[in-house]
Symmetry: C2
Subunit: 302 residues, 2 copies
């Protein structure tokens, strides 16, 4: 028998989506950072939908500050809306917690969600709480709606061979530093889609080595990474920058002739956040394969 | 220290919603079956949002047929849209599963979700899968958007003293019979909101003894239940009808003078499903208290 541990998350999703009715005319294919719903031609904005989950022992340790866990649960979703060129709107919080969870822990969790919503402009619309058996892992799932102007929508699938690849910030070591406290790059993507709209964009949650091939495949391209150019977090190796995951930085593809102008303007607007060219997209079948990154049902970094 | 097991779900929610930004102009107060978002006066429909979760050992046994578990996870959400007078639209499925889960189990779970979506008219928009530690309970969370015509929106909070209380179907014993295979009453609520719009409505998920006081409180009323009139499932006691929960029948309040006409018309349209008058709303402070029903963080039926 096949178990989840024998099959990758991407392969699993491909098998599952065949079994259920899908939107007959989706505004974006499955597998992008958010689902995109077109409410009709007279609406200037598209509806974005996203769900995500944090699991105790997997995404946070039991001893982690609950306010940071709440921030992370919410910020991961905000980051996905940012990656589409959009904004967060209405949030639903689903908690599955052991009965022996302190009420103060849950309140601090909600304070962290509130911190994130106040900073990035969403509101809580509803929620659900359920118990899990004693000693089962706590699960925090956040689903949300967002909104994106039609001409700001930025997919994974619309880049072309020859486009440059860039990343914000630095990569690697997140689990030791910022994975609970990272800043979703919403301010930056807002500026990007208004001024230098990328040809494709996604956020880096599972590591560049796993996420970049997803963007390249969605765009029908191969890829080349210039390892020497990677913005590696101080104290980390190139392998960590490729494989650690949970960077929550933005990966973007940009037409080559626009890169110099983008980098110059970026330096003016965001002097404290690096934007680094790390490689390029090439024809499908050319380029390189990347190893590493986070695999949800295996032992971890492959 | 206070633990979740010391505090009821309703009290917990009241404490949590103070800690996060809420919609400043909600179309419905917190605590209804769904959140209601008003997209603006030029839209004929309101947006409904709902999230729900099934937890292994709590809402289904490990040996339960996964196709039924998928049906139940989806049908619970459909039932909530029905309770608002609305319809389901776009679904997000979040799975937190142990790595040793068979792929075939997950596929059957999705088949059950697909069965429900095809029958009641929703589509899958996206999802998320995460591992949980070995031997942790599986959690299946479904969030969804729905839609309701403005004049069909039916809340819990809009009934008045004197209105009659009615329920569809029979109550009690669900865990031994239909809790995995129940039929959400969408066809019936569709007909109700078009023909005999209730003054208030909700679906019965935690048992009449817990849910009816919620409707009464939301409407600022007291309540009287005529125990002899309760449509008790064959083989069950009145206590089970009040307290078992997971009936997923509809509870409605109707102006007294419309009850006879409603019951006559209902019998013509839905000859195979009972609609029973079980009591009435009274002035706040009058009437009775009800004991029992499902409490999520205590030992179960209180």
């Amino acid at each position: 028998m096949n178990y989840l541990s024998d099959i990758g998350e991407d392969a699993l999703i491909q098998r599952l989506v065949r079994l259920v009715p899908l939107d007959p005319a989706p505004a974006a294919g499955p597998g992008d950072d958010c689902a995109v719903i077109d409410p009709g031609p007279d609406h200037p904005s598209l509806l974005l939908l996203k769900t995500d989950a944090l699991v105790e022992h997997i995404h946070f340790l039991s001893a982690a500050a609950p306010r940071s866990v709440g921030w992370k649960a919410c910020a991961r979703v905000v980051s996905d809306f940012a990656a589409m060129g959009g904004h967060p709107q209405h949030f639903l919080v689903t908690l599955a917690l052991p009965p022996q969870t302190p009420v103060a822990w849950v309140e601090d969790l909600y304070r962290g969600i509130g911190d994130c919503l106040r900073r990035f402009g969403g509101t809580l619309a509803g929620g659900e709480t359920s118990s899990v058996p004693q000693h089962s892992a706590a699960v925090i799932s956040i689903a949300a709606t967002g909104s994106v102007l039609r001409h700001h929508l930025t997919l994974r699938s619309t880049a072309q061979p020859g486009h440059s690849l860039l990343v914000t910030g630095s990569l690697g070591g997140s689990r030791l530093t910022k994975h609970l406290t990272f800043t979703p790059r919403l301010k930056e993507t807002d500026w990007l889609v208004s001024n230098f709209k990328p040809s494709a964009m996604m956020d880096l949650s599972d590591g560049l080595a796993r996420d970049l091939p997803r963007l390249a495949a969605a765009s029908g391209c191969g890829l080349v990474v210039e390892r020497g150019a990677l913005p590696v977090t101080a104290g980390c190796t190139v392998e960590q920058a490729l494989g650690d995951g949970e960077d929550f930085e933005m990966l973007l593809a940009v037409e080559d002739e626009r890169v110099a102008g983008l980098l110059a303007a970026w330096g003016e607007v965001f002097p404290d956040l690096a934007l680094t060219r790390i490689g390029r997209l090439v024809e499908a079948g050319a380029g390189e394969a990347l190893d590493g990154g986070w695999e949800h049902f295996s032992a971890g970094s492959a």
